[in-house]
């Protein structure tokens, strides 16, 4: 079933004294419910812009972004968001960060002064604690502040923070780009497991093709046909299951083949496999 539709999307940024710069021009894309769509492309091709349009954090210059047939106007609780940086609230503990969404949605600002809030808070925090453990963190991490965590741990908490809201769509914008290769590989497996378990529709933006192919059930490559042009969908392919082993690790030969194909078709460069970890 179709969940997200981008119809003839145009995004142009005004630059003082210059002709407006077109980032996206005539982009059309549909995403079905339950898909894991990995969007990749070179820097500046509009991947993050497209994600932000679906998120509702940006509006297109022309065209429409529809989710369940309804036009997107601003971010809401149905779209979970995990950015590369600033993914957690620095003034709250880990548990406070994860519990923020349910507490906010149910009680708002003034509802926190009621006795019912204290009761529900305990239940919400129990759920948050469960998610914390599910993300591979330990109990003592719950009382830490984000700056006391490593990058990988912060991103685990950010994913838990988004998932506790049970969003329809999970939007991840270069969420693993700042992580070291080992942690990145762990997070890749974690996200795949979450997707397989929850069935949430995932849109994952990355500049790494191998990572996109490994993670996604579908890969969309954005890029410019000419250097001065605006970005379009250059390639849109369903990823075969053969890319992964039964235990969830990437198969080197298959991944290499697909990466080379994508690179040759859409990017014309050398395949980069070093950001995925193969089974030993």
């Amino acid at each position: 079933m179709e969940l997200i539709r981008l119809s003839d999307i145009r995004v142009a940024y005004s630059v003082p004294g210059q002709v407006p710069r077109k980032v996206l021009d005539g982009l059309n894309l549909t995403i079905r419910e339950g898909e894991f769509v990995a969007v990749c492309g070179q820097t500046g091709c509009g991947k993050s812009t497209m994600l932000r349009l679906i998120l509702g954090a940006e509006q297109p210059t022309a065209g429409k972004v529809l989710i369940d047939g309804i036009e997107v106007t601003r971010p809401n609780r149905h779209r979970g968001y995990v950015p590369q940086k600033y993914s957690l609230f620095p003034d709250r503990t880990v548990l406070g960060n994860i519990a923020f969404g349910p507490e906010m949605e149910e009680f708002g600002i003034l509802g926190r002064c009621t006795p019912r809030f204290l009761r529900r808070r305990r239940e919400i925090r129990t759920e948050a604690h469960r998610l914390l453990i599910q993300m591979g963190l330990c109990e003592s991490d719950g009382s830490k502040y984000p700056d006391q965590l490593s990058g990988g741990m912060q991103q685990r908490v950010a994913i838990a923070q988004a998932l506790i809201m049970r969003p329809k769509i999970l939007l991840m914008d270069e969420a693993f780009s700042a992580l070291d290769p080992a942690t990145r590989a762990e997070m890749q497996r974690l996200v795949r497991t979450i997707w397989a378990t929850t069935g949430t529709t995932v849109l994952f933006v990355t500049h790494n093709i191998a990572e996109a192919i490994y993670l996604g059930s579908r890969v969309v490559v954005l890029g410019k046909e000419t250097p001065q042009g605006s970005s379009k969908v250059l390639l849109d392919l369903d990823v075969p299951d053969a890319v992964r082993t039964p235990s969830g690790y990437p198969r080197r030969d298959e991944l290499e083949r697909l990466t080379q194909m994508v690179e040759g078709t859409a990017m014309g460069g050398q395949p980069e496999l070093r950001l995925v970890e193969f089974e030993r």
Partner: protein, 284 residues
């Protein structure tokens, strides 16, 4: 060691260094006082230790500068004498005005927050506040007295004009410095506009806002003192202005030190409260 970036002075050295200038100042003062009193034992410009003690005693234990310690050696408890003393009544009068000024900073912070977060609000107020900030508060003092008279309102308005634009603009800039990802996050976690404003943005900028207010404490006192000196019948600055006419340096100097001590205590309390309320905040 003096100009080495990697210098690590020991605890004793650090202690000595940090108190050295205080010691030098006090020593120099009393040496100067001693020199002047050798020439003129009744010198009032640089009071000696005995004169200062008398002045402090009079200020802390007398209701009037003309009363002497001997006359005040009544059987009343010290606490009662202190609570009816000149210093205490002046402190209470100034403290009330200071409290009003601090209370009026709350809407200033809220205005800065809303200006930074809600574009329509921001466009509506920003240009005006930027201009208003450039008005020299003391230059409008005569206008304030004409418009509001010489009671409390004009003194409070002086502080408002002098300090609130700075606080508004500081809060505005702090709000703008919050990464947009945090605002978007708030919405994706079920918050509405005011939820994002107060539970996401405000909570993050509050420690810095408190620091901004701390840094403006002296400015608040400056304007408060200006108003009191010119048009008041009570208050710390009023007393200093009154004693100036009597060359009462033996009371003025303790008053000045008392004001500095009070400000230090307010600043210390704010810093302590900030640390306790915001344990996550790493002060630079």
């Amino acid at each position: 060691m003096l100009f080495r970036v990697d210098a690590k002075p020991g605890r004793l050295t650090t202690w000595v260094l940090s108190w050295f200038l205080f010691g030098m100042g006090v020593t120099f003062y009393f040496w100067t006082a001693n020199q002047r009193h050798l020439e003129n034992p009744e010198d009032k410009v640089v009071p000696g230790l005995r004169q200062l003690v008398e002045g402090i005693g009079g200020a802390f234990l007398s209701a009037d500068v003309e009363e002497t310690l001997a006359a005040d050696a009544a059987q009343e408890p010290l606490l009662k004498r202190f609570l009816t003393s000149m210093l205490w009544t002046d402190t209470v009068a100034s403290a009330k005005r200071f409290a009003w000024a601090m209370a009026l900073l709350i809407p200033a912070v809220l205005l800065g927050l809303h200006m930074g977060l809600f574009p329509v609000f921001g466009h509506f107020f920003l240009r005006f506040i930027l201009f208003f900030d450039k008005i020299v508060a003391l230059s409008v003092l005569p206008i304030l007295f004409i418009a509001f008279g010489i009671d409390e309102l004009s003194k409070i308005m002086l502080i408002v004009i002098g300090v609130t634009p700075t606080i508004i603009l500081d809060t505005f800039n702090l709000t703008k410095s919050i990464p947009p990802e945090q605002v978007v996050k708030g919405f994706t976690l079920g918050a509405k506009d005011f939820g994002v404003a107060y539970l996401v943005v405000m909570k993050q900028i509050l420690p810095r806002v408190l620091n901004s207010v701390r840094l403006n404490l002296k400015a608040i006192m400056l304007f408060l003192f200006a108003g009191e000196m010119i048009a008041s019948q009570d208050g710390l600055a009023y007393r200093i202005s009154l004693l100036r006419r009597h060359m009462g340096m033996n009371v003025i100097i303790p008053y000045v030190l008392w004001v500095a001590l009070l400000l230090f205590l307010v600043d210390f309390t704010m810093r302590y409260t900030n640390r306790k309320l915001h344990p996550w905040f790493r002060e630079v």
